[in-house]
């Protein structure tokens, strides 16, 4: 593998449980994936699939009652070597340096991720100054209030915000939805992270703005050479932005591979169901075909394959007893389904 293809972030057997009043709830159950420099990995799944929890675990942004499995590994490659984030103390300095420095994160609700009582400039400069050492290493230069402000203005211009010099002193509620999202991206990218985690950033936007934001993110990714983890439930967005995709269901990855191939020839019944459920204008079909049933509560995980309760191709005796392992389909694809395993028909 060449340097640019070595994984920047490698997750191995990540497991996350929550200690609740109703017992231990398993949110992420043995998930492994990689993110590479300059490439985007899309993570698709319904609410309850564990996709948010898995990515939040990368920067240890989990609530106090979350427990990461001792065997999990979250490896980040940096200039000074490799660090296992899973092994770091959750409240320590290392983790804080990573957050917002090496790893940036943007959220679904841009209004909610800014504090309403400070200007966006204030919050941007705060982040820049907090990570001034990291920035110095990445792009050189030293940062004080003045240079931080200039840097912030440059970033706002870079994300296409008109009148950046004026807007930097405005409050979040004074900006429109699309502008707020751009501001949030500017904030996250102002520290030049090597990895960006995007947690459903376009879900709350209307379609035209969505397209603009996606284009922007692609441009910036190219320019900064970032790796990106893009979480969404929208297959259409994945098709536009992610080279690789991982499909999650109830805390496990059920299928992964290059996006084009997975969409063209979905292997796992769940993926097929998701794609079939997309409304299309080019066929004459009148009725929509959603995936039948509801996602089970994590408190009542089905035995065996988590999807078997809703799977049209389940094999009684096998799917309801044995958890399917990751079966490679070729060099780049794999699927977790008994249909492709040893007992395949």
């Amino acid at each position: 593998m060449t340097a640019s293809e070595r994984p920047l972030l490698e997750i191995r057997e990540l497991g996350v449980s929550f200690d609740t009043d109703e017992g231990m709830v398993r949110a992420v159950d043995g998930v492994s994936f990689v993110a590479r420099q300059g490439r985007t990995l899309g993570i698709v799944g319904e609410s309850g699939s564990g996709k948010s929890v898995a990515t939040k675990a990368v920067i240890r942004l989990l609530p106090a009652n979350a427990r990461i499995d001792p065997g999990s590994a979250i490896l980040l490659r940096r200039d000074d070597g490799e660090v296992d984030i899973a092994g770091l103390p959750a409240k320590g300095r290392e983790v804080r340096r990573l957050r917002g420095g090496d790893i940036g994160m943007i959220f679904q609700e841009p209004m909610a991720s800014f504090s309403p009582v400070y200007t966006i400039g204030n919050q941007m400069m705060e982040a820049i100054l907090e990570h001034r050492d990291h920035l110095a290493r990445r792009i050189g230069g030293s940062f004080d209030r003045k240079t931080a402000r200039e840097h912030a203005i440059r970033m706002l211009e870079r994300v296409g915000m008109s009148n950046a010099r004026l807007r930097i002193d405005q409050y979040p509620h004074e900006l429109s939805g699309g502008m707020r999202q751009r501001a949030m991206i500017a904030l996250a990218l102002s520290t030049h992270p090597s990895l960006l985690i995007a947690d459903e950033p376009t879900t709350a936007l209307d379609v035209t703005i969505q397209a603009q934001i996606l284009d922007l993110m692609l441009e910036l990714q190219q320019e900064l050479g970032m790796a990106m983890l893009f979480i969404t439930h929208d297959m259409g967005v994945i098709a536009q932005i992610a080279e690789d995709v991982a499909v999650m269901y109830l805390g496990r990855i059920v299928e992964r591979g290059p996006t084009r191939e997975v969409i063209r020839e979905p292997a796992h019944p769940y993926t097929r169901g998701l794609l079939a459920a997309l409304p299309r204008l080019d066929t004459g079909r009148r009725r929509l075909t959603p995936v039948p049933g509801d996602i089970p509560s994590p408190l009542q995980r089905p035995a065996g394959c988590p999807f078997h309760t809703r799977c049209p191709q389940r094999m009684p005796g096998l799917c309801d007893r044995l958890v399917p392992g990751d079966t490679p389909l070729d060099a780049t694809r794999s699927v977790a389904c008994h249909l492709y395993g040893e007992g395949a028909p």
């Binding site: 957050r99 994160m105 800014f114 504090s115 309403p116 009582v117």
Partner: protein, 331 residues
Amino acid sequence: MLRFVVQRAVGMVVTMFFVSIMVFAIMELPPGDYADRYAFRKFSGTGVSVTESDIASIRRQFGLDRPAWQRYLSWIGGIVTRFDFGPSFAFETSANRVIGQRAGLTVVLLVGTLLLTYLLSIPIGIYAALRRQSLADYGLTVVSYLGLAIPNFMLALILLYVSVRYFGSTIGGLFSPEFEKAPWSWAKFVDLLRHLFVPAVVLAWSATALQLQTVRATMSDELNKLYVDAARARGLPEWKVIVKYPARLAINPVVSTIGFDVNRIFSELPIVALVLSLPELGELLIKSFLDLDMYVAGAILLMLTAIIVFMNFVSDVVLAFLDPRIKLEGG
């Protein structure tokens, strides 16, 4: 922002205008006037009977025979132009003189109580929100409830009793006997503080309890919001995440109720002052109503409400300053 302040200031003046009318109406409420009372006193005190014409002449002397609206206008005019609250019939001097010192005490106690309340309730409320369901949190809740439930006069009595019994000091009154007539000195000042401490604590306890619960509830709500997590995701140190972000918003409800707090304090002060033998406006108010010494009574009521209205104004302005979202909503 300036426009907002001006708007609010104008509103304050308008409110005060209506308040003054209402106060005047209240002054007019009790039947009879000073002339009647004076006659009654004279008669019951000295046995000298007072004739109708005597009463009438007294009335004329004090201008009490003019129609209501004329008296109102001259009263208001005097206040606004010369800060003169009118004459005190009973004390035969100006109302300003009569009220002066006691008003000072009221204001001092008000400021002291407010300071104590906010300095205590905000940090403790934030702390309680961070440590929910902990022992300290429950303890604080119990103390808060007690503060709200124990009548303030009882609390004053208890503290008075405790300090007499266990500290052997006489906390009642404004000064200890030895300092009463003495000229001002540092020691006298310290003595004053010691005496003001108990009423301030009594008044502050229930106010603190209320604000503490409010801060705690607001803080808990804010802690769960996304922007707090987002701030953490930016790698900010935990203390900054707490103090700069949710704490700042938790203060809002406290600021917005400053006027209400002042109102409450003014309501509780007379009783506590009576129990602790502090020379305060409440006593004077009672006396002036008994004597129908109208200008004094009116002046006291007007002053108290003016302070409350002003504090409402302050609270509005500070709130708008703290929370930029408010300005846009307008009146």
